[in-house]
C-alpha cells in the first residue's frame, strides 16, 4: 500500500462506516491514494462551508423568525469589503483545489517509460485484452507493482474503461487510440485461481472493470474483472499457461469458454432464449430467413462469415449490431466456436479432441515449427471453415 501522508487524517472518522458503508472501495493502485486524499480534502472544505452556510441559515431562521414583538432591523444594503472578501477567499481555495487536481491529473496522464503494454479492444458489449503474446482474454490480468499501460480502441461506439479500485477512467473512442496507465498495488488472486478465472467472465474474484460511457443495450453488462498477480513472474507464468490451455481441452470445451470470454454470451444464449442475437441452441444446420436476400443455411460458412463480417447477412428479426472479430480471433478459435454451436444441436457428432477434429487450424505443427516454415497467419484454414468467402484471419496485433 502507498498511503499518502495526508490521507491518514481521514483514515477512520467517516461516520458512514458505522452503517457498514465503505466510502470508497479499497484503493489498489499507486494513484488511488492521491486521488482519495484530494477527495477528502475537498470533502472537508465542503463540510466546513456547508456547516457555515446551513448553520447560519438555521440560526437566522430561529433568531429572526417573525413573531409578535419582533421587528426587522434595517441593516446596510451592501458592504463592499465583506463582499469582496467572500469572493476572494473562496477564490484562493478553488485555486488550491484546482492545483492539486491538476498535479494528480498530470500523474494520471503520464505513463512511465517502462510500462507494460496491453492492448484493449472495446466492442458492444465486451472487452478484449490483447497481451503482447497475442493471447486475448476477457478479463484484465496485470502484475502487481509494475506500471501497466493500456492502449485502447473501440470497434463500434464510445465506451469508457473504468476501474474504481484504481481510480482510473478513460473513454475508448472509435477511430483513435486512447491511453490509460496504472500501477496495481494489491494482488487479488493466487496463481491457480487466476488460471481458473479464465473460464468465467465477470464472476471471479478481482477488481471491477466497468464501461461508463453509455454504449447501448448491454451497457450495464459490459463488466470485466481486473486480476492482479502477485508478481511479474507469476503474471508471465500465467500468461504462458493461459495461452496454451486452449489446446488441452476439446474443441467444444474451448468453444464454450470462448462463448463466455469473448462476449458471445452477451447476445447469444445457448438455452433457446431470444437475445440481442439469435440463440445458438439447435440452430446449426437449420435454414434461416435473412433481413435481405434468400434464406441461408446456418452452416460452417455462415458462422465463420458471421464472426468475421457480421453485417453481411443478418438474420431476420434481429438488428445488425454485432461487431466484427476480424483480426481478433484465431482460426482455431473460429473452429472451436463452430464445434460448440454444432454441439448445441441434437444429433450432431462432435470430436472429443483436436486430433479427432483434424488438427488445430492455424496452428503450426511441430515439424513445421522446426523447419521454420509456414507462419501461422498464412496457414491453411480449417476444413470446417473453407476460405472461399472470407480471407484468412490475421493474427491479433502484437503489442510493441
Amino acid at each position: 500500500m502507498h498511503p499518502a501522508p495526508l490521507l491518514n487524517v481521514f483514515d477512520t472518522p467517516l461516520p458512514l462506516a458505522a452503517f457498514g458503508i465503505d466510502w470508497f472501495r479499497d484503493a489498489a493502485s499507486t494513484q488511488a491514494a492521491k486521488v482519495d486524499t484530494l477527495y477528502f480534502w475537498i470533502l472537508a472544505i465542503c463540510i466546513v462551508f456547508f456547516v457555515l452556510i446551513v448553520g447560519l441559515m438555521i440560526v437566522f431562521m430561529a433568531r429572526y423568525a417573525a413573531r409578535p414583538g419582533h421587528v426587522e432591523e434595517h441593516t446596510s444594503h451592501h458592504n463592499n469589503a465583506l463582499e469582496a472578501a467572500w469572493s476572494i477567499f473562496p477564490g484562493f481555495l478553488t485555486v488550491g483545489i484546482f492545483w492539486f487536481g491538476f498535479l494528480g491529473y498530470l500523474d494520471l496522464r503520464t505513463p512511465p517509460d517502462n510500462a507494460y503494454e496491453i492492448q484493449v479492444v472495446a466492442k458492444k458489449w465486451n472487452w478484449s485484452f490483447v497481451y503482447p503474446s497475442g493471447y486475448i482474454d476477457s478479463n484484465l490480468h496485470v502484475p502487481a507493482d509494475r506500471p501497466v499501460k493500456l492502449i485502447m480502441s473501440s470497434d463500434d461506439v464510445l465506451h469508457s474503461l473504468f476501474i474504481p479500485a484504481f481510480r482510473v477512467k478513460m473513454d475508448v473512442v472509435p477511430g483513435r487510440y486512447s491511453k490509460l496507465w496504472f500501477e496495481a498495488t494489491t494482488p487479488t488472486e493466487s496463481f491457480d485461481e487466476a488460471i481458473e478465472a479464465k473460464d468465467t467472465r465477470g464472476d471471479v474474484n478481482g477488481y471491477d472493470l466497468f464501461c461508463t460511457e453509455y454504449c447501448g443495450e448491454g451497457h450495464s453488462a459490459m463488466i470485466a474483472k481486473v486480476i492482479v498477480h502477485e508478481s511479474e513472474a507469476a503474471f508471465e507464468k500465467w500468461l504462458v499457461e493461459a495461452d496454451v490451455i486452449e489446446l488441452d481441452s476439446s474443441p467444444v470445451e474451448l468453444g464454450q469458454k470462448l462463448w463466455l470470454q469473448r462476449g458471445c454470451k452477451q447476445c447469444h444464449s445457448i438455452d433457446g432464449k431470444k437475445g440481442t442475437g439469435p440463440s445458438w441452441q439447435g440452430t446449426f444446420g437449420t435454414e434461416q430467413d435473412m433481413t435481405k436476400g434468400d434464406p441461408i443455411e446456418v452452416d460452417e460458412n455462415y458462422i465463420r462469415k458471421s464472426i468475421l463480417e457480421p453485417m453481411a447477412d443478418i438474420r431476420a428479426g434481429y438488428k445488425g449490431v454485432m461487431p466484427s472479430y476480424k483480426g481478433q480471433i484465431k482460426e482455431a478459435e473460429i473452429a472451436a466456436l463452430i464445434w460448440f454451436i454444432k454441439s448445441l444441436k441434437e444429433g450432431e457428432e462432435v470430436p472429443a479432441t483436436w486430433e479427432e477434429a483434424g488438427g488445430v487450424p492455424g496452428q503450426e505443427t511441430e515439424e513445421e515449427a522446426a523447419e521454420g516454415e509456414a507462419p501461422a497467419d498464412e496457414a491453411e484454414p480449417a476444413a470446417e471453415a473453407p476460405a472461399e468467402d472470407a480471407a484468412p484471419a490475421k493474427e491479433p496485433a502484437k503489442a510493441a
Binding site: V35, I42, F49, V71, H77, S160, P174, S178, D208, S220
Partner: protein, 593 residues
C-alpha cells in the same frame, strides 16, 4: 404576517387615512372573458391570445404536463433499480435493458428540453417580466405566441418518439451511438431543434422587452433581480441555442446521408459532437439555474422583510455566470481523450464559475440577517433551495478537480450533483416562485399549512433520493446501468424510497394549488407585502395589467407597505416627498430601533 404592535404603529403613523393608501383599480381579470362568450369563443380567445399572462399560463400547463411525464419515467427508472437484477421493465435481461435505456433517455430528454429549460423563463418569466416592468405586454406578443406553439410542436415530436420506436441514446445523443441505433433519433432531434427555436424566440423577446420597455425611473440598477436573472438567461438562450440547432442538423445529416463529420471511418471525429453539444448544453445548465436564482433573489427579501443584500454583486454575478458559462463546456470531457492542456484550461475556468454562485448564496444569507422571517410556503421552498443548492454547488468542486473527476465522471456522483443543482435548484425555485406568485396569477390564496407540509415532503424526499447517489458514485457505480452489483443495492433502495416520498410531496403541492383554484379565498392585491411592480396591479391582473404606469420605487424597500387587516393583505402608503428625495440605497450604517 406582520406583528400586531408593528401594524398598529404603522397604521397610526399613517393616520389610517384611506386617501393616502394607493388605490388599485379593479377590472375584469385576464382569466375571464366578457359575459356572453360561447365555449368555442372562449377556447379561441385562449388559443389566439396575445396576452403574455395567458401564454404564460398555457406554458405553465404544458411544462407541468411534461414534468409529470418525465417524472413517470423517473419512477420507472427508480423502480427498476430497486433490485440489482432486472425484472420490473422486462423479464429477460435484454428486454429490461432496452426498456431501461429508453426510460432514462426519455426521462432526461423530457425533463431537460420540455421542462427545466422552459419552466421558469417561459412560464413565470412570461407572466411576470412585463408586469415587473410595469408594462402591458412583452415587446413582441405575436412572437411570444409563436414560441408557445413551437414548444407544443416540439413536444408533439417527443410524444411521437414515445409512440414509435422510442429513444435510447441518452439525452446527450452522443455519436456514433446516435447515428447507429435503430430508435427514433431523427424524430427526437427534430423535436429538440424546434424547441430550440421556441427558446430563442422567448429569449429574444425578453432581451428586447427589458432593453426597451423599462419604465421611467427604472434604471438598470433599479431593476428587480428577477429581471437581471431572466435577462442573463435570455442572452444565453439567444447565443447558445443556435449551436445546438446546427449540431442536431449535422447529426440528422450524419444519420440519413452519412456525411461523415462525426464518423472516424470517413475522417470525422465522434468527440467533435461532444464539443458541439456541450457548447450549447453547458450554457444551458445556466439557462436552467439562473432563473431559479433569480426567483430566490425575489422571494428571500420579501419574506425576510429586508432589502436584498449586495444587489449589485448579485446582478453582476448573474451576468458573470452567463458569460463564464460559455467557457467551460470542456469540463464534460475530461475523460474523452481531450488533450491534457485543454482539460487543465477547462478545469481552471470551471472554478471561476463557482465564485459568482457562492456570492449569491452569501448574499441571500446576509439578507436574512436581522430580518423578520415569515415561513410561508414560498420562503420554505427558498430555504430548501439554499440547502440543496449549497450541496449541489459544493459537490461541483469535486467534479472540477481534474484527478478526482476522473474517478467520479459518469458515475452516480455526477447524477446526484446535477440533480441537486438542476432539480434541487431549478424545480425547487420554480415551486418557490409558483407559491409566491400564485395569488397574483390566479387571484386565490392556497392553504399555507398543507403547502408547507408538501414542501417538507419534497425536501425530505429529495435528499433521500439523491444523497445516497453521491456515495454510490464515490464507490464507483456507473451511470445508466440497468443492473448493478449487489453491494450497491441498499443505497439504491434508499434512493427509490426517496422517489416515492418526493413524488408524494409534489402531488400534494399540486393538489394544494389546484384545490385553491376552486376553494381558495380571494387573494388581496399584495398578500406578502412585496415591493416589485407586479404587486401594484390587482389579483388576478386585468388584460392590460395597469391602468396607469405604476410608481417605480426601490423593488426591495418594504417600509411603504403596511398590513391592512380589512384587506388581509398589504397596502401601499404613498411615499412622501422626503423619502422620494432619498438615494436609492439606504445609509450604510445600520439603523437602530
Amino acid at each position: 404576517m406582520i406583528s400586531q404592535s408593528r401594524q398598529h404603529t404603522l397604521l397610526e403613523a399613517i393616520g389610517e387615512d384611506p386617501s393616502r393608501k394607493v388605490h388599485i383599480p379593479q377590472g375584469p381579470s385576464y382569466l375571464t372573458n366578457p359575459p356572453g362568450t360561447t365555449f368555442w369563443q372562449a377556447v379561441g380567445s385562449w388559443m389566439f391570445t396575445l396576452d403574455h399572462k395567458r401564454i404564460g399560463v398555457m406554458y405553465l400547463c404544458g411544462v407541468m404536463f411534461a414534468f409529470l411525464l418525465g417524472g413517470i419515467y423517473a419512477g420507472l427508472v427508480r423502480v427498476e433499480l430497486w433490485n440489482g437484477t432486472p425484472g420490473f421493465l422486462g423479464e429477460s435481461l435484454q428486454q429490461a435493458q432496452n426498456n431501461y435505456n429508453q426510460a432514462f433517455t426519455l426521462h432526461g430528454a423530457i425533463m431537460t428540453f420540455l421542462f427545466i429549460i422552459p419552466s421558469i423563463p417561459a412560464a413565470l418569466g412570461n407572466i411576470f417580466l412585463p408586469m415587473m416592468l410595469g408594462a402591458k405586454d412583452v415587446a413582441f406578443p405575436r412572437m411570444n405566441l409563436a414560441s408557445f406553439y413551437l414548444w407544443c410542436t416540439g413536444a408533439v415530436f417527443f410524444v411521437a418518439t414515445l409512440l414509435t420506436s422510442g429513444l435510447d441514446t441518452g439525452w446527450t445523443f452522443y455519436t456514433p451511438y446516435s447515428t447507429t441505433t435503430s430508435t427514433s433519433v431523427i424524430l427526437a432531434t427534430l423535436g429538440v431543434f424546434i424547441l430550440g427555436f421556441s427558446s430563442i424566440f422567448t429569449g429574444l423577446n425578453f432581451v428586447v422587452t427589458v432593453n426597451t420597455m423599462r419604465p421611467k425611473g427604472m434604471t438598470w440598477f433599479k431593476m428587480p433581480l428577477f429581471l437581471w436573472g431572466i435577462y442573463s438567461t435570455a442572452i444565453i438562450q439567444v447565443l447558445a441555442t443556435p449551436v445546438l440547432a446546427i449540431t442536431l442538423v449535422l447529426l440528422v445529416c450524419e444519420r440519413t446521408l452519412g456525411i461523415g463529420i462525426f464518423d472516424p471511418a470517413k475522417g470525422g471525429d465522434p468527440v467533435l459532437f461532444q464539443h458541439f453539444f456541450w457548447f450549447y448544453s453547458h450554457p444551458a445548465v445556466y439557462i436552467m439555474i439562473l432563473p431559479g436564482m433569480a426567483v430566490i433573489s425575489e422571494v428571500i427579501p420579501v419574506y425576510s422583510r429586508k432589502h436584498i443584500f449586495g444587489y449589485t454583486f448579485i446582478a453582476y454575478s448573474s451576468v458573470a455566470i452567463a458569460l463564464l458559462g460559455f467557457l467551460v463546456w470542456g469540463h464534460h470531457m475530461f475523460t474523452s481523450t481531450e488533450s491534457a492542456l485543454a482539460a487543465v484550461i477547462f478545469s481552471a475556468l470551471t472554478f471561476t464559475v463557482s465564485i459568482p454562485s457562492a456570492i449569491k448564496v452569501f448574499n441571500w444569507l446576509t439578507t436574512m440577517y436581522k430580518g423578520a422571517i415569515h415561513f410561508n410556503a414560498a420562503m420554505c421552498y427558498a430555504l430548501a433551495f439554499m440547502f440543496l443548492f449549497t450541496i449541489g454547488g459544493l459537490t461541483g468542486l469535486f467534479l472540477g478537480a481534474l484527478s478526482v473527476d476522473i474517478h467520479l465522471h459518469d458515475t452516480y456522483f455526477v447524477v446526484a450533483h446535477f440533480h441537486y443543482v438542476m432539480m434541487g435548484g431549478t424545480l425547487i425555485a420554480f415551486l418557490a416562485g409558483l407559491h409566491h406568485w400564485w395569488p397574483k396569477m390566479f387571484g386565490v390564496m392556497y392553504n399555507e399549512f398543507w403547502a408547507r407540509i408538501a414542501c417538507l415532503l419534497v425536501f425530505v424526499g429529495f435528499n433521500l433520493t439523491f444523497f445516497p447517489q453521491f456515495i454510490l458514485g464515490t464507490q464507483g457505480m456507473p451511470r445508466r446501468y440497468a443492473a448493478y452489483k449487489e453491494e450497491f443495492q441498499f443505497l439504491h433502495q434508499l434512493s427509490t424510497t426517496g422517489y416515492f416520498v418526493l413524488g408524494t410531496g409534489l402531488f400534494l403541492a399540486a393538489a394544494v394549488l389546484i384545490i385553491s383554484l376552486f376553494k381558495g379565498k380571494k387573494a388581496p392585491d399584495n398578500p406578502w407585502g412585496a415591493a416589485t411592480l407586479e404587486w401594484k396591479c390587482c389579483s388576478p391582473p386585468t388584460h392590460h395589467n395597469f391602468e396607469v404606469q405604476p410608481w417605480t420605487g426601490s423593488p426591495y424597500v418594504y417600509d411603504d407597505f403596511v398590513y391592512d387587516p380589512d384587506a388581509e393583505g398589504y397596502v401601499e402608503v404613498l411615499p412622501d416627498l422626503q423619502r422620494d428625495a432619498k438615494p436609492a440605497e439606504a445609509p450604510a450604517a445600520p439603523a437602530t430601533t
